[in-house]
């Protein structure tokens, strides 16, 4: 809209247009000379016609082109002379060394080796005969003589409801510890609300009674697992059989995925969830859930916040391998409830299942046999079991595969015993009676091959060092004063001196281990191999 700029310079966009502008604009009675009282004026629309567009217009010409005619000729050919020959590859020469430089550099190399050999031989000889370093140990880190409790964390509303800590998990960076609340001594269906809490231990101003993230869950949470690469994603299995995945970095709506209540979901409490890398994309992960209805299911995050079943296994008593005598003869298609899962660190498709009946099964993700089950499922369920180990006296609550030896794993059951098994034989290599009450969790240490920790029903966390003594615990720390059980424990793989344990009082205690449990000695892996070998014979 043109205002008092009429008086100023107007760039003539077109002669005709400028005149129209000038004539139309002088409609104001006062004129631009005097600054009259402020009035609203509407002036005409100033339009500037285009100069070039009128000139150009649309021009069209028609042209056509055509290729020259294609010349073709026909000719025929025929072979009149031929010869036979055979070709065969020679047997490959055995490659003995990874050499990236040809041997044409010979003479200098030979001279170098001849010059250097006596010196190196002398040093090697001196070394194995020397006592110079006997008993010489260097301490790089500050020595911690005893196991101390660093933090005592709890969530008061959950504790007020009398909830127990059913599972703890560390996240991938090792700075956040999450715990799941629920009840482990309820036999019947319950509708109590429960919580999943997470504390960030590296944050300054950590409040032990105020978690950094709290998620309300409609049913008791039985197990928890943080995502292996995403620091804020956590999967949990509920008492109702659902599996949920939360994103703790979104406090207003943490729920990412859920299984919902479809035909595929578990019908019994989910006792363990794990994250597994997908077969084809090893950067993406899927959730494995094991529940008391005998199914082990693999879920993938799908559209609409739903977890989609991608593969599944079902256990039936008839399909268990018969290499060990089981107590009851099977009748009908009885399901075998699974209570614990552990994957081997060396073979990603091999896993061990602990069951309610007390026996352990060696299973494989690649098993192809179909499962005998009447439960409907969108994905065909397979029978995974390949080998049965000797049973415990009661349900097995925890299995842990050694991160240092491909065949060893531990299992803990309600008979108060920890069994050390080898994948190769059915009876256990060693069995240790730790307590007269139940044992709820056992875990290998991620840094020392011979150390494991167990959570007992008498309220203490026991640490075993198989190098020192294989009969009694090296250290036993009391977590609860009134002997209420400790239900779960986890080592922190990033900050290897931390161990988190949750108990029936609803508190999670973070223990800092003494240096003897965190620093690996020189020959421990060999000692572990030796232990496995000598106990097996």
């Amino acid at each position: 809209m043109a205002t008092c700029a009429l008086r100023g310079q107007l760039f003539p966009a077109g002669r005709a247009g400028a005149e129209a502008l000038a004539t139309r604009g002088i409609a104001s009675p006062e004129g631009p000379e005097r600054p009259g009282p402020l009035q609203d004026e509407t002036l005409g629309v100033a339009s500037v016609p285009s100069q070039w567009r009128a000139v150009q217009g649309i021009r069209g010409e028609t042209k056509s082109c055509q290729t020259a005619s294609i010349a073709t000729t026909e000719a025929s050919a025929q072979t009149w002379k031929h010869a036979d020959a055979e070709v065969q590859t020679e047997a490959p020469e055995p490659v003995s060394v990874p050499s990236s430089v040809s041997w044409s550099d010979g003479p200098g190399l030979a001279a170098f080796l001849r010059r250097v050999e006596p010196m190196v031989t002398r040093e090697l000889n001196k070394n194995w005969q020397s006592h110079a370093f006997d008993g010489f140990e260097v301490n790089w880190a500050e020595q911690q003589p005893t196991v101390t409790c660093l933090h005592t964390l709890g969530y008061p509303p959950a504790q007020a409801q009398g909830l127990h800590v059913t599972s703890v998990s560390w996240n991938t960076t090792g700075s956040v510890v999450g715990c799941a609340y629920g009840r482990l001594d309820d036999g019947d269906w319950s509708t109590l609300k429960s919580f999943v809490c997470a504390w960030n231990l590296d944050r300054r101003g950590l409040e032990p009674q105020q978690p950094s993230a709290v998620v309300e869950v409609p049913s008791a949470v039985m197990c928890l697992a943080f995502h292996p690469t995403q620091p804020a994603h956590v999967a949990g299995g509920l008492y109702s059989g659902e599996v949920l995945v939360w994103d703790l970095s979104r406090p207003e709506d943490p729920l990412l995925w859920r299984t919902g209540l479809t035909d595929d979901t578990h019908t019994d409490p989910v006792y363990q969830v794990l994250w597994l890398p997908e077969l084809r994309h090893s950067q993406r992960f899927q959730v494995l859930s094991a529940a008391a209805d005998g199914k082990v299911l693999l879920w993938q995050g799908g559209a609409g916040g739903r977890l989609r079943l991608s593969a599944g296994f079902a256990l039936a008593v008839q399909q268990l391998p018969r290499n060990t005598k089981l107590k009851k003869p099977p009748r009908g298609e009885t399901e075998v409830g699974t209570t614990a899962v552990a994957f081997s660190s060396f073979d990603p498709s091999l896993f061990v299942l602990g069951t309610e009946g007390g026996f352990l099964l060696k299973c494989s993700l690649a098993a192809a046999e179909a499962a005998l089950t009447r439960m409907p499922s969108s994905v065909p369920l397979r029978a995974p079991a390949q080998f049965t180990f000797s049973p415990h006296g009661g349900p097995v609550y925890s299995v842990s595969c050694s991160p240092f030896h491909r065949n060893l794993f531990l299992s803990a059951g309600t008979d108060g015993q920890v069994h050390l098994y080898s994948m190769l034989q059915a009876p256990p290599l060693a069995s240790l009676r730790l307590t007269h009450k139940y044992l709820f969790a056992v875990r290998w240490s991620p840094v020392r091959p011979l150390v494991f920790a167990a959570a007992s029903g008498e309220g203490d966390v026991q640490l075993f060092d198989l190098q020192k003594s294989s009969q009694k615990p090296t250290v036993s720390v009391k977590q609860t004063q009134d002997e209420r059980p400790v239900y779960c424990l986890e080592f922190n793989c990033q900050q290897t001196q931390l161990l988190a344990a949750g108990d029936a009082q609803g508190t999670v205690k973070v223990w800092r281990l003494s240096t003897e449990f965190t620093e690996q000695g020189p020959r421990e892996t060999e000692d572990l191999d030796q232990l496995a070998a000598e106990v097996a014979t």
């Binding site: 050499s99 041997w103 030979a110 080796l113 250097v116 010196m119």
Partner: protein, 117 residues
């Protein structure tokens, strides 16, 4: 009765032969010539190319890369303290094993030995 470990490289047309003794060890022979042939100038040649090794490929390349800069640093340290001096032998002792390096203008020989306890 402990026997001295025999270790004698015999240069034949196919390569070196080392006889292992009572202490377990591994060795790695590196070529560290850099300006000798301009065709071979690459990141790998600046780090020391392994010629022969008793370890698997990933461990070999890891040792070659890490030890090369360490050896050059050690050599420059010795020469800086006394320019007439030079590095003849390098030993790194750790909790689990001992790494011994015999350096030269063109080649390194790295031997890793498990000390007997």
């Amino acid at each position: 009765m402990v026997q001295p470990c025999e270790w004698s490289p015999a240069m034949e047309s196919t390569g070196l032969h080392f006889n292992p003794g009572p202490t377990a060890y591994l060795y790695l022979l590196c070529d560290c010539r850099q300006a000798a042939s301009p065709l071979r100038v690459s990141v790998a040649s600046l780090a020391g190319i392994p010629i022969k090794s008793t370890m698997d490929n990933p461990t070999t390349t890891q040792y070659a890369n890490l030890m090369h800069s360490f050896i050059l640093k050690a050599r420059s340290t010795v020469r800086e303290i006394d320019p007439q001096n030079d590095l003849t032998f390098l030993r790194i002792r750790s909790k689990k094993n001992e790494i011994m390096v015999a350096p030269d203008k063109d080649y390194f020989l790295i031997v890793i030995q498990n000390p007997t306890e």
